[in-house]
């Protein structure tokens, strides 16, 4: 949008100053909790108790981080968050790969090889994104038990695959819908079959949507708590569950600095993804919501 700003010199300048003031105020509002977590995660506990949470640390210590990572008591065992961090990785990586591949193939079929009833199938898959997961808790526990993967990482991968498919399919479907059908036709005349077209023509042009889907799935699955707490045990519980256990473990002194270090550790992977590929992150959120 161009030529919106008023060009009146004097009143305009005051207005612009107010505008920037408001914008900066909001930036502080959004940054404050992060700052507080960060600042207090490097203070000794004593300083937090007596001092001010807004203050910069007077004594800088990384002890809380080390504790949160490998020593703190999470639930019953004093293991730190480390094992759970790996649990999360072991759960997120396969789930993201599986769902992305399936989503891409589904999107391809749904746009370029449609058949009667395909739209209904898609609608049914899409509805799956939105069901309250509470509905799945009881039966999923039984299905995982039946399959012998209750409490395992693979059980969580399966659950996340099931509920990630709808969005992944939606992303790829919307992306491939805009992919020129004439290109598919040209390839068919050149003699390319179903998979050749997919791997040689479609996939090389799918970079942006793959990034979006991977980021979307990564953040969602990493940040999940409900499935992790319901279907995970020590060998499979993800980071979010461990963080909650760490923070809410009753008894003893509340080690706020350790809690904060833990919270940042739990947020770090998604924050890094967000910082590295913020542009795509926004696009992913948008295509999930606005276009969807």
């Amino acid at each position: 949008m161009s030529a919106r700003t008023e060009s009146r010199p004097d009143g305009g300048r005051v207005l612009r100053a107010l505008l920037y003031a408001a914008l900066i105020l909001f930036a502080i509002y959004y940054l404050l909790p992060l700052y507080v977590m960060l600042a207090n995660s490097v203070k000794p506990l004593e300083e937090i108790r007596q001092g001010n949470m807004m203050a910069l640390p007077q004594v800088l210590t990384f002890e809380p981080w080390a504790q949160a990572w490998s020593e703190a008591k999470v639930g019953v065992a004093a293991t730190g968050l480390k094992p759970y961090f790996w649990n999360s990785i072991k759960m997120v990586v396969p789930a993201v790969i599986i769902v992305t591949i399936l989503g891409a193939l589904n999107g391809y079929v749904l746009t370029k090889y449609t058949f009667r009833g395909a739209n209904i199938l898609f609608g049914m898959m899409l509805l799956g994104c939105f069901i309250p997961f509470q509905i799945a808790l009881i039966p999923a526990a039984r299905v995982l038990g039946f399959l012998g993967i209750a409490g395992t990482t693979w059980g969580l991968v399966l659950v996340h695959t099931a509920y990630g498919l709808g969005f992944a399919t939606l992303f790829f479907r919307n992306y491939y819908a805009a992919f020129p059908t004439e290109l598919i036709r040209a390839a068919r005349i050149d003699g390319a079959g179903f998979f050749t077209i997919f791997f040689r023509i479609l996939l090389p042009s799918s970079g942006p949507i793959i990034v979006v889907t991977v980021i979307w799935l990564f953040t969602n699955i990493w940040n999940d708590f409900l499935f992790g707490v319901s279907f995970g045990d020590f060998d499979s519980q993800p980071m979010t569950v461990a963080l909650n256990n760490l923070v809410s473990s009753s008894g003893g002194v509340k080690e706020y600095n350790v809690h904060f270090a833990g919270a940042i550790l739990a947020a770090l992977p998604t924050l890094i993804v967000y910082i590295v590929s913020g542009r795509y992150f926004v696009r992913g959120l948008m295509s999930g919501a606005v276009k969807g």
Partner: protein, 293 residues
Amino acid sequence: MTAKGRLGALLPKLILSPSFVIVLIFVYGFIAYTLYLSFTASTMLPNYDLVGLRNYERLWQLPHWWLAVKNLAIFGTLYIVVSCALGLFLAILLDQKIRGEGMLRPIYLYPMALSFIVTGTAWKWFLDPGIGIENTMQQWGWDSFQFGWIKDRTMAIYCVAIAAIWQSSGFVMAMFLAGLRGVDGEIIKAARIDGASTVTTYRRIIIPMMRPVFLSAFVVLAHLAIKSYDLVVALTGGGPGQATELPATFMYSYTFSRSQMGVGAASAIVMMMMVFAIIVPYIYAETKREPGQ
């Protein structure tokens, strides 16, 4: 498609079938199972004796459930209305050809990357009168400053809303910003030639054009609100007492801690009905819209 052998015609369906089978079981099978359980006398373990609508009757007689629904109404309304208002406001501010927009936008948006558990942990502490904002203000010399909502039965639910709005409003801002950027510049020029001020142009022309964004934001926020579970667990644990219970936490505690699986299942079904009432018309419109072939 030309008849290129039966396999050629079958392949697309074959490709789609694993996903569809998974969805069929994990979504529709599970809905059916939970629906069935909600009509049974299940307690700690599933039990297949049908008891008709008794669980639903019990559910709606429980003050605990009523509290959860009332909380959802308060939380949901605040969450949706404030997030939309704040998001739109920020988007309009950012749309004034701001220097440094590229830096501000990610700052507003990053909370969306966080887990609700992290958000809850941060805000739990921030809102705690002993060490959080109240303590800070008093240390800075504002001795009469009080902010103890999180310990207050009637006000605690607003704390949940505050934290949730902090997390989601940046995302709503991004949606509106994309909407604003999509407005045809010539329409704005036309409005200026008609003599409309900036405020009038927004109020009368641009904001009304944001209707589809309002709708999308509503759908996204509403279904997030109904599903909200992690934030409450991390922020208040449902307390003080039961003051911040939401249907999602209610379902979990009745099913798994209180061994009333039938009632839990019934509450899950009610939650699903609420979500579907919002989402089904939206999905219907989405699948009607043919992909641009």
